[in-house]
């Protein structure tokens, strides 16, 4: 079945790198070809705290395609921890690294005792678009990074409303939702954009509610947070 992609409005799952880029303090490590970051970073600019030309990348070449790129990924992660000043390192796989069968998950597992958290998400471009890539990487954060919290903060609401750095109004929409939640007398908690980042990410388990404003994007992830009894977060769903 032919699917012509004409005037595309979406990108591939590896665009999950933009979700990570939007969490201040977190950096993606791309196990991909040399051009993926530059192509997917379009629109987000070359600057910011981290940007696509700062992201570590294995820049897979013919040699890795033929002989495998696991060793290269391992040394890239190891040296990323030394060179880049981040609080969370998220390894993302690509079309090429998945087709050649590199076991990125296993490599990442070997960094479980590293001095900074290193997690992993499978995001090959052929498997889905940037919307689902966003969900997969958030799922990876929930499962591999977040820890259940003893403490609950009264009135704290996690807001999930679409993916960052795609719709040009994404940040304005998110900030406005924060204001509305505040006017209800609650405390909003978002993770994307300036001055949110890792510190807010760490607060997610302390929240009483998830507020999901979306028809389907992010639904599985808030369900995951709700179902997982350790978190005790109730979902409010606004299917806009």
């Amino acid at each position: 079945m032919a699917k012509i992609l004409d005037q595309p409005r979406y990108k591939c799952a590896l665009s999950a790198m933009q979700t990570i880029q939007s969490i201040e303090g977190a950096i993606p490590i791309l196990h991909s070809g040399p051009g993926c970051g530059a192509k997917l970073g379009g629109g987000a600019g070359n600057s910011g705290h981290f940007s696509h030309n700062i992201f570590p990348c294995t820049n897979i070449s013919e040699k890795e395609v033929v002989f495998g790129g696991e060793k290269r990924l391992e040394e890239t992660i190891e040296n990323s921890l030394k060179v880049l000043d981040a609080e969370l390192y998220v390894v993302l796989t690509s079309c090429t690294s998945e087709v050649i069968g590199d076991d990125a998950q296993e490599i990442v597992r070997s960094f479980k005792d590293a001095n900074k958290p290193v997690i992993y998400a499978s995001t090959p471009g052929f498997k889905g678009n940037n919307y689902v890539g966003n969900d997969w990487v958030i799922e990876a954060i929930i499962e591999q990074y977040l820890k259940p919290s003893e403490k609950k903060t009264k009135g704290l609401v996690n807001i999930w409303a679409g993916l960052p750095l795609h719709d040009p109004f994404w940040l304005g929409n998110l900030r406005e939702l924060e204001k509305l939640v505040e006017e209800l007398g609650l405390t909003p908690n978002t993770i994307f954009g300036h001055d949110r980042g890792i510190k807010n990410l760490n607060k997610i388990p302390e929240a009483e509610f998830n507020l999901l404003v979306s028809p389907w994007l992010g639904l599985e992830n808030v369900k995951l947070l709700e179902k997982n009894l350790e978190y005790h977060i109730f979902n409010i769903l606004l299917f806009l």
Binding site: P34, I54, P56, C57, E62, L84, D85
Partner: protein
């Protein structure tokens, strides 16, 4: 020779020109090793996201008017489509023309990756033709289509029967992993044009093929060339398939960038005898004059060229001499593609500045005429001193380390994504983004003034640097910039 038009896929720069992306040393050493063939690539055990040859190849071709690019790739590879459309619209509007080029993709999914997608590629080519009636169709390959072994050449042979024969349809082999050097993409686009668009000459015309990026000096160059009774034909941006089909009938080929032009220029020379002017490029005074004389001798207009040079020298040289006094002794670091690194190094030396470190995004041991690239040969003979050189495919961490160590007065780059980081670290920086920024006498003078503007007031860089948290650890700034280059191996 490296140019083989009998095969469908262009040879990579690594294979054809012995090009590398990892090196750390100095000017004399890299020239010596390039000439005797002992220069070897050094791999990195840490690298940052770079750029792929597919983006370069398809980006170049997408500037041609009224054609279709079909990217046989997953959706992310086609993310560049919107950028192409914006570029094309603006650059066409600037010239008062219209460009109806479309950039579509085949959106390869998991099913396609497992079972192949040549069937749907064929349908999409037909659909694209019927929807847009393009003047030519270029089908680009990707990492995925390459690894799973899609036989794009056969699909194209097949479909030629269903599309009018006057519409060229051609494969562009540009799998992202096949070369670490994105400039291989320039060659892939040239290979496609040479193979399928350029026709054998019927009658010679008075045009000079001008390979460039965005033709911002179009009017200026048209006026200069009028002095010699020739016309420039700029491409690929805003060119037409019809114009390109006559490239073989031109008097000569020139290129604003040696890296950009080597394949097409040498290819046209080899196949059709169109002379390729292989001098240093028209940046700075020596560059401009050498280049003009090179053109003059190819088109037998030496006297006219000398008259022009004399006229223009009188206008600009006194002013350039004046501003040089203020630039004298400024210490500079550069990070550019090799088509510019050594050209701009020469201009900086000409203006009295000191080149402290020149980083080039890749290094060609030779160009397609089997000779050391002209700007390197010029520096070998004329540079008053040796200077440090590194080769890195835009590895930002290495550049910021170099800047931190050498603390130059100014950093030059051709990529906005690197100048911004230098500024955040407190270095004055100038983005030599427009390929004609230092073109000719006037460009050289303007450039000198712009350098002065950039370094005179440094409070912006200072204030910004004081407030920005940089991406790198303190540990990294204490290391040598070549720490992650492994031993020579390939």
């Amino acid at each position: 020779m490296g140019i083989n038009l009998e095969i469908s896929a262009v040879g990579t720069r690594e294979d054809r020109l012995g090009s590398i992306t990892g090196y750390n040393g100095d000017l004399h050493d890299i020239i010596e090793k390039s000439k005797c063939g002992t220069l070897k690539n050094k791999e990195r055990c840490f690298s940052q996201s770079s750029t792929c040859n597919a983006g370069c190849a398809l980006g170049q071709l997408a500037g041609i008017r009224d054609i279709a690019i079909i990217n046989h790739a997953p959706s992310g590879c086609t993310a560049m489509a919107s950028g192409v459309t914006v570029n094309n619209d603006q650059l066409a509007t600037k010239r008062g023309i219209a460009n109806a080029t479309v950039f579509v993709g085949t959106d390869m999914d998991e099913n396609d990756t497992v079972f192949g997608a040549t069937g749907s590629l064929k349908e999409i080519i037909l659909e694209t033709y019927n929807r847009y009636k393009p003047k030519a169709i270029f089908v680009g390959t990707s990492c995925v289509s390459g690894i799973i072994g899609e036989d794009v050449d056969s699909v194209i042979e097949d479909i030629k029967k269903e599309i009018p024969s006057e519409i060229p349809i051609v494969a562009v082999h540009c799998e992202g992993f096949r070369s670490r050097i994105w400039a291989t993409g320039f060659d892939a686009s040239d290979h496609a044009v040479l193979n399928s668009i350029v026709k054998p000459p019927e009658k010679k015309n008075n045009k000079i093929n001008f390979k460039n990026f965005y033709e911002s000096a179009r009017e200026e160059i048209t006026e200069i060339f009028a002095n010699f009774e020739v016309e420039p034909l700029f491409f690929y941006q805003n060119s037409t398939v019809e114009e390109l089909s006559h490239l073989s009938e031109s008097l000569a080929t020139v290129s604003i960038c040696g890296v950009l032009g080597t394949y097409l220029g040498n290819g046209l020379e080899e196949k059709y005898g169109v002379p390729f002017v292989k001098t240093i490029n028209p940046l700075g005074v020596a560059g401009f004059e050498t280049w003009l004389r090179g053109i003059g001798s190819v088109i037998s207009k030496q006297a006219e060229v000398e008259a022009y040079i004399e006229r223009e020298r009188a206008k600009y040289l006194p002013k350039i001499e004046e501003v040089k006094k203020e630039l004298k002794g400024l210490r500079a670091v550069l990070g550019m593609g090799p088509g510019y690194t050594y050209e701009v190094s020469r201009v900086l030396q000409e203006l009295g500045m000191e080149v402290v470190w020149a980083a080039s995004w890749h290094h060609d041991k030779k160009h397609d005429n089997d000779q050391l690239p002209a700007p390197l040969k010029y520096l070998e003979e004329n540079s008053p001193y040796n200077f440090k050189v590194s080769v890195a495919d835009q590895q930002n961490y290495e550049i910021l380390n170099i800047l931190n160590h050498y603390k130059p007065d100014i950093y030059f780059s051709r990529h906005p994504g690197t100048t911004v980081w230098a500024i955040k670290q407190g270095s004055a920086a100038l983005c030599v983004n427009d390929e004609y920024m230092i073109f000719g006498y006037k460009g050289t003078l303007d450039f000198a003034y712009t350098v002065l503007d950039t370094i005179r007031n440094r409070s912006f860089e200072k204030n910004l640097a004081a407030r920005v948290k940089l991406p790198y650890t303190e540990w990294w700034y204490k290391q040598e910039n070549a720490t992650f280059l492994k031993g020579e191996a390939k």
